[in-house]
């Protein structure tokens, strides 16, 4: 076991949905649930790290401080972290660093979001120097367009089929059925997935992650502090927040082009393969040690890419892993037992934190209706816009 661990003493979430209320409310609910779970009073929290999103990022809406104020000013130190979909892991990373540096014993990590309807849209105004604005103006390239480019590429490289992609959705719908925090809790069949409207060929409506409201929180403490309160705490043994290496030869949202490999060869490990690898190296484990994984299934097809990216199987074998039931509850390494983004939809600054909440419940044996039996080591992975990798290893 690494000496650089921090304990997760409490986890809490506000259910995902389309509630239309202020994000602070979800953040406070999640924070109070995590504090109650930890048995720690809010006034004993010494450091607050908020996962931030741009929509919440106007003056007066800085996540960490807004939620701390709503909980009642206590003098705690505070930060807010923005890293697109990886914002939550960055908040975890900062809180962990403060604990390991001896700067505090008890930290609250919290992220929450309120989302608009429909496609995510860029900031308003004329923003001719902002690639996220320009990709809508010049290309009409929505997020699903990028997911679909990866999906088509997967079909071309590995012979993946529409039916393989639909099976991922069917699996995740079944996993999330009894998760009280999931927004979509309904079984679907392959036929229903394949009959849902095509959004961006080859991806259909039921295969693309929705946008949701929700909140998630963790109470992190030093291991010494945790051991005074519990005998067998769940620990975070790695947090990776890596960026790509040049040249990044896979087209990334919201870019118009990849890096050029004309002068420098592509790195030996591609960006998405490097994310969990960095976390494994920190934790001193390998993919063969993983019992359960929460991966960022922005689309059904992308979940298959992640199987390979986090080392569960070699490139091209993900469909076989899925079809053999290896990644289904009861299989060797269940993926997205929470139901994943497929059942949640994306609440950006909360999502990477929610992934950790799920793994903590799994490792404690508290994931009723979706429990991975005997899970000891779990990994999360996600990727945020503009080159933010994120992966957390949780173990017991």
């Amino acid at each position: 076991m690494s000496e650089r661990q921090v304990a997760v003493l409490g986890v809490g979430m506000h259910p995902w949905g389309k509630w239309g209320r202020n994000f602070v409310e979800y953040g406070v609910a999640a924070a109070r649930a995590a504090l109650a779970d930890a048995g720690i009073a809010w006034r004993d929290v010494q450091f607050v790290a908020g996962g931030e999103t741009i929509r919440n990022g106007y003056p007066g809406f800085i996540a960490g401080a807004s939620i701390a104020q709503a909980l009642g000013w206590s003098g705690a130190q505070v930060t807010s972290c923005y890293g697109a979909c990886a914002a939550g892991s960055q908040a975890v990373s900062v809180a962990r660093a403060h604990i390991l540096a001896g700067n505090c014993d008890v930290a609250l990590v919290v992220g929450a979001d309120t989302t608009p309807k429909g496609f995510f849209a860029p900031q308003a105004g004329e923003r001719g120097d902002d690639p996220d604005w320009l990709r809508f103006r010049l290309l009409g390239a929505t997020n699903p367009v990028y997911f679909a480019l990866y999906a088509r590429r997967r079909m071309e490289l590995y012979g993946a089929t529409d039916r393989d992609f639909a099976k991922v959705k069917v699996k995740n719908a079944r996993h999330g059925l009894e998760n009280p925090y999931a927004r979509y809790r309904k079984l679907v069949t392959e036929e229903e997935v394949l009959a849902s409207p095509m959004v961006s060929d080859p991806l259909r409506l039921l295969e693309i992650c929705a946008t949701s409201d929700g909140g998630a929180a963790l109470v992190l403490t030093s291991m010494a502090y945790a051991r005074r309160r519990t005998t067998d705490p769940v620990a975070i043994s790695a947090v990776a927040t890596v960026t790509p290496r040049y040249p990044n030869t896979v087209i990334e949202m919201p870019n118009f082009a990849t890096d050029s490999a004309a002068a420098a060869p592509p790195p030996p490990v591609a960006f998405r393969d490097s994310i969990a690898a960095a976390a494994y190296a920190q934790a001193g484990i390998g993919p063969e040690d993983v019992d359960v994984a929460e991966v960022y299934d922005l689309s059904s097809a992308l979940e298959l890419d992640w199987y390979e990216n986090i080392g569960l199987c070699p490139p091209g074998d993900a469909e076989k892993l899925l079809n053999d039931g290896v990644t289904t509850l009861g299989g060797r390494v269940p993926v997205n037992p929470s139901g994943g983004l497929s059942c949640f939809g994306e609440a950006i600054p909360a999502q990477a934190i929610a992934q950790v909440c799920e793994l903590v419940w799994q490792l404690r044996g508290q994931a009723a209706g979706r429990q991975v039996e005997g899970a000891k080591i779990g990994v999360t992975v996600n990727q945020g816009l503009f080159g933010h990798g994120s992966s957390v290893v949780v173990q017991r």
Binding site: W133, G140, T142, P144, A264
Partner: protein, 146 residues
């Protein structure tokens, strides 16, 4: 008669006889960038400040493709009613990079195949009272239509 202008003049030379994307190339390590890099080479082994403006290859091979069947939010300027369009990711051989573009009007995903030859064309993206704004699109190269 409206003026025909590039929707993004610093990125795209829209002259119909020779449409070209405009990128930059590092004079030191010869890395390419699109859109143009304004102040320094992004190759971490280089970092030189000496960049030149270059037209990118006007053809390449199709790396992947998709389409969009629902109207995107602003700032996309949609015709009424909305018309679906395909989008291509095309790999340029000399530059060793992949560049996105909409696919020419009238070409659907069923007409596309990964690996096929694509070439750059000019089409109208949207219009206002004064101007017609032109953008680059990718179209299957002559003889490549499946």
């Amino acid at each position: 008669m409206k003026n025909k202008v590039s929707a993004m003049a610093s990125w795209f030379d829209a002259r119909p006889e020779r449409p070209r994307l405009i990128g930059s190339r590092c004079r030191s390590c010869r890395s390419y960038f699109f859109p143009r890099e304004s102040f320094a080479c992004r190759n971490p082994a280089c970092g030189a400040a000496d960049l030149e403006e270059v037209p990118l290859s006007a053809s390449g091979t199709l790396w992947s493709y998709t389409d969009n069947r629902y109207q995107p939010p602003a700032p996309y300027v949609s015709p009424e009613p909305f018309a679906p369009y395909a989008i291509a990711a095309v790999e340029l051989a000399d530059e060793k990079m992949v560049v996105l573009g909409q696919v020419a009007n009238g070409v659907a995903t069923a007409d596309l195949q990964v690996g096929m030859r694509m070439e750059l064309v000019v089409e109208t993206l949207y219009s206002d009272d004064a101007n017609e704004y032109l953008v680059w699109k990718w179209a299957p190269a002559a003889g490549s239509r499946s």
